[in-house]
Every structure is written in structure tokens, then in C-alpha cells.
Amino acid sequence: MSISRRKFMQAGAAAVTGAAIAPGIHLVELAQARSPEEAASTAKRWGLLIDSEKCTAGCSFCVDACHTEHNITSNNRPETDAQWIRKVTAKDPDTGYTHYLPVMCQHCEKPPCVDVCPTGASFKRADGIVLVDKHICIGCRYCMMACPYKARSFIHEEITNQKSYVPRGKGTVESCTLCVHKIDRGDNNTACAEACTEFGNDAILFGDLSDLKTEIAKRRKTEPSRQLRSDLNLNTGVRYQGL
């Protein structure tokens, strides 16, 4: 299911009259960050292209940048702490060759998380970004069961010092938003991709997959890339190279 910007605004507005995730933080701010004329449109499909050959062992710039951007903090309980993005090490047992690559929500075109969500809290924006409306999420965790990429985290404890542009709350589920707040204010990049470039690895490329003039679209067309679990046919917005 994709939700129109209008419906999203309505949901936000309805929620804002009643509940706030934390004092002063309203979902509607997220929606309003984009200028009203500029609705999330189906003309765009945002995505990432990740080159695992450029990603290096031990580097965690993308992870740190994401978690700083959204104030994802650790309580030193790795099993229950939220992680929107993680570095995965994948070793070929035959050759011993090791790949390093970040994994986050793959922003599936046919997202299983959205299909199973009973309330519609998990939704896909017209521009392909998959989000959770924290005001409707009842914390059933069915989406986490359904996600093939382990991309989602349940918030297991109280959250403090939230960023105004990232509504979060104990008892709800969250995942990578593809830095929707940055996209909507026109940054045209994500925190992870920015950090990776800054560090000099340039392994993460962000862009509009549907605009054939963008670098990401060109590279997707001319260079080999693949989706994780391609057998599931989810048409992920995040693709990988070098695997």
C-alpha cells in the first residue's frame, strides 16, 4: 500500500491533535518539512547503490553518521538496542574472500512489512520510501517477522533527547527512513552516503532511480548490481555491487 501525501498529512494532523510521541515532537512536522507544493511524487523513486568493493573492514562511518543524525543511542544491550544500519561481514567459506557492506531497510517496492502491518502504520510513500507512522503503530512486531533483511528495530525502552525531525517512541517499531527529513528539505543525500563520501570510500550512492540523468540510474544501467534475496522479487530500492 502506498499512502498519498494528503492521507499522510491527515494522519499526521489527526495524531497531532491527540498524541505526541514526546513533548514537542509531532509527526506533522515531518510531513511539513517538505514544501506543500512539492508532494512526494511517484515521479521519483529514491534509492541507494552500495559498492561492497569500496566498503572497508572496520569502518563504521555510515553507521555512526546515521545514528548521530537520528540520535539512535545504545543502552549497552546489543540485543535490544535499535540499529537502523549495520555493517555486515560476509565471508565466502570456499575462497575465504570477505565482503563488507552496510545493510539497512532496503525500501522494497513490494514491502512485506507494509503488507502484513495490521493498522497500516507501515507504509510506502509515493516516492518509494518505506516508513512507520509512529502514531498508529501498535507495536505488534509483525513487520519485523516479515522483513527479510532484519531491517527493523523495536524500541525496547524509554527514549530521551529525540530529534524533532525523527519521531520515535517506546513500544513502536522503526527502521531506516532514507533520511526522509533531509530529502524533503532538499539535501538530496542521506547521512550515511554523505559520511562515506567524506571518509573517502564513496561506497554509497544516493539518488533518484527513476530519473535516467542521475548518476545512480546511469550506474544501475551500465554496471552490474543486485538486490539481496532477489528470489523474493521485492524490487528493493537499495542495490549492491561487488557481491
Binding site: T80, H156, R229
Partner: protein, 404 residues
């Protein structure tokens, strides 16, 4: 033939109130646990970002599955016209509702935001099997409620058969829906099997009848009502067949999975080297929960004792919980195969078997749900005529000569 009369139990004895009191304590413990989990956040439970559904879900799914199975006794009577089961129909329908309510209560209390229950009941995503289930569950209570009504109200008797049929169809849909919760999770190796839904139906037969049998024997014993061997033996044999059928489905499930190369990993995990899950599967589910009960149900020295028979049924319940533990928690503990064939590691538990140990709070929440079901049923038989005064052989089947 003796006239079949239903009445309420007196429910004034010290024993009755003690029993209700015990159920009340279970409920209070469950509610307390839910409150504790809710105020602290789920980090105080054994559940985490890898094992997102834990012990509460094992109990909840068990009760929901058993609920539709408990209705089976009534269905055999009304839909399949087996007169011997007819006197049991009211109790069967009552237990169905009570068990369902208990199971749903656990599910709701375990939500991250149980305070938003109203959202889940008003906003539906019709693509979600979960949303459909909420409709199926509330509908089940209504349909079975009507069915009970047609049984109790004389002038509605003519609708009884239709209502029974409706309830029967509804319960099949409901169990299919519950099984499909897992069937839709194609990304997880353990659940990627078409046999899941029919297996849940046959599991419901077994779990529901086991609870029914225990409850029947206990209430008739405690209220001093006659309960003849004819009916008890019927139910015993039936339960034996159901237990065997579940075993058969489990066998087929694992054989098909073994046959599929991409599922050999999960099979190895459950059957061979999954640690706790392998143990729970072989010892708790297969030996204690299936083979020992079968022994009890088919060897006369055992089944002739009502106590022993109830114990056998209790083991079936235990085996059912074990089976769901393996399915629900074992299925999640086995790592997602995001990079098939690779050795994977990360800070988020990729490639590792998930850790899960149920905390007392989770178990108490589950038992609290059982408490709700038992309390509801035990209270209902005091205020409405659910139980036949006598289920002695000559009442149940005038032509019967007691068999064993």
C-alpha cells in the same frame, strides 16, 4: 432414555470460590506482568530484535488455536449429526469463546502500545492477514455466541443446525487465518511451507479436545455429576487419533522441508543441532507431548483411571505449547538467510542463532491468559445452563453397553 436436562452449577461451595480465586490470582499475575513489561519497556523480557515474538505469543497462539478446536466437539454433534456429542455442544462452544478471549488478551497485553488497541480495531489494512484475523476473532465470538443462544432458547432450536454450520465454517477459516500468520512470512525458512495452515487445523483439533476433556472430567468430578465411560472413551479415542494426525503432519512438514535443498539448514537446526529447540522438539513435543499421551490413551491400565487420562490430555497441552515454541521461537532463532552460503556476522546478530530465554513475566502473562479462559468458563457455567445434569451412559446413548 433418560431426559437430557441442562442446568447451572450451584457454585456456592468453598471449593468453587477457591478455584475462582486461584484463577483470579493467575489473572492478576498476568496483568501485573504486562504492566511491568509495559512500563519498563520490553527490554526486561527475553524478547529482542531477533526474537520479536516470545513466550506470550506461544501461549496466545496456543489458546487461539485450541479455541477453534474446542468447538470441534459441538461441530461433530451438529454438523456431522453424531448424536452422542450433542449434549457436549454447549460446553464445547463455551470453552471455544473462553479460550479465544484468553489468547487475545495475551496478544493485546504484549503489544508495544496496548493503549492503542482502539487503533487496531478501527484502522485496518486489508492486505494484512493480521487485520483479517482481528475480524475473524471478533466474528468468531459473535457466531459462537449465537450458536449457544440457539441451543439454549427453545424457540430458536430450528436455527441450531444452521448456526452450528456457520460456527464450523468460521472456525476453519479462523484456524487457517492463524496458521497463515506464519505462512505469509516467506523470508523465514521455517515458515515457508504450504502445509502450515492445514497443520494448524489439525493441531487445533488436538489441543482443543485435550482441554475440553480435562475441563469436562474436572467439572463433572468436582460437581459430583455422573460422567459415563461411553462418552469419555469416545473422546479419548478421538484425541488419540488427533495426536497421531498431528504427528503425521509434523512428519510430512519435515520430510518436505528436507527434500527442499534451500530448507535443509532450518531442518538441521530443528532436528539435529539447534540446542534447546532440538531438545524441545524431540523430548517435549514428540516424547512427552505425543508418545506418552498415546501410550496413556491406548493402554487400558492407564486410561481406565480418569486422573491418568486427564494427565495424558494435560501432556498433550504441554506438547502443544512445546510445538508452538519450536515453531514460533525456533523459527525466529534460526538466522535469516540474507546472504545464502556465506559466513555472516555483524553487530546486529546476523548469521547467529538468536538468543531467547523466557522471563518469569512473560510466562506469567501467558498463564494469566489461561487464567482468564478458565475463570470465564467456570463463571459462565454458574450463570447459564451449559452442563447436562448427567452424562451417564444411559443418558448419552440408550443403546450402549459400556465398552472399554
Amino acid at each position: 432414555m433418560k431426559q437430557l436436562t441442562y442446568d447451572m452449577i450451584k457454585g456456592t461451595s468453598f471449593g468453587y470460590w477457591t478455584l475462582l480465586g486461584i484463577f483470579g490470582v493467575l489473572i492478576a499475575a498476568g496483568l501485573g506482568s504486562a504492566y511491568y513489561m509495559e512500563t519498563n519497556g520490553h527490554y526486561v523480557t527475553g524478547m529482542n530484535n531477533q526474537i520479536v515474538w516470545g513466550m506470550p505469543h506461544v501461549f496466545a497462539v496456543f489458546l487461539i488455536v485450541a479455541a477453534s478446536g474446542a468447538l470441534n466437539v459441538a461441530s461433530i454433534g451438529s454438523v456431522f449429526g453424531k448424536t452422542m456429542y450433542k449434549p457436549l455442544a454447549r460446553l464445547s462452544a463455551l470453552l471455544a469463546i473462553a479460550l479465544l478471549v484468553g489468547g487475545l488478551a495475551i496478544l493485546v497485553l504484549d503489544l508495544g502500545r496496548p493503549d492503542r488497541l482502539i487503533i487496531s480495531m478501527t484502522i485496518y489494512n486489508f492486505k494484512s492477514i493480521f487485520a483479517w484475523n482481528m475480524i475473524l476473532y471478533s466474528g468468531f465470538i459473535a457466531v459462537v455466541g449465537i450458536y449457544i443462544w440457539t441451543m439454549m432458547q427453545h424457540n430458536l432450536k430450528k436455527y441450531n443446525r444452521a448456526a452450528g454450520m456457520g460456527a464450523f465454517i468460521w472456525r476453519l477459516t479462523l484456524t487457517t487465518g492463524t496458521g497463515s500468520i506464519f505462512g505469509f512470512l516467506v523470508a523465514r525458512s521455517a515458515y515457508d511451507a504450504a502445509i502450515m495452515a492445514p497443520m494448524f487445523i489439525i493441531m487445533s483439533f488436538s489441543f482443543g479436545l485435550a482441554i475440553f476433556l480435562i475441563y469436562l472430567i474436572a467439572t463433572y468430578h468436582l460437581t459430583g455429576r455422573p460422567l459415563g465411560d461411553v462418552i469419555v472413551n469416545r473422546l479419548r479415542k478421538l484425541l488419540g487419533i488427533f495426536v497421531i494426525s498431528v504427528l503425521y503432519f509434523v512428519l510430512v512438514y519435515h520430510l518436505t522441508n528436507l527434500y527442499l535443498a534451500e530448507h535443509s539448514g532450518i531442518e538441521r537446526f530443528i532436528l539435529l543441532d539447534g540446542g534447546i529447540y532440538t531438545k524441545v522438539f524431540w523430548i517435549d513435543q514428540i516424547i512427552i507431548g505425543s508418545l506418552i499421551p498415546l501410550l496413556i490413551f491406548y493402554v487400558p491400565v492407564f486410561y481406565k483411571s480418569r486422573l491418568m487420562l486427564s494427565f495424558g490430555a494435560l501432556l498433550v497441552v504441554f506438547g502443544g505449547l512445546a510445538q508452538l515454541y519450536v515453531i514460533i521461537i525456533g523459527g525466529q532463532a534460526y538466522p535469516l538467510q540474507i546472504f545464502p552460503g556465506m559466513e555472516v556476522s555483524s553487530s546486529f546478530g546476523d548469521g547467529q542463532t538468536g538468543n531467547y530465554t523466557a522471563t518469569p513475566a512473560e510466562i506469567l502473562l501467558g498463564i494469566g491468559g489461561v487464567g482468564i479462559a478458565l475463570a470465564a468458563a467456570t463463571f459462565a457455567i454458574k450463570i447459564l445452563p451449559f452442563l447436562p445434569q448427567s452424562l451417564a451412559n444411559e443418558v448419552v446413548d440408550p443403546h450402549s453397553t459400556p465398552t472399554t
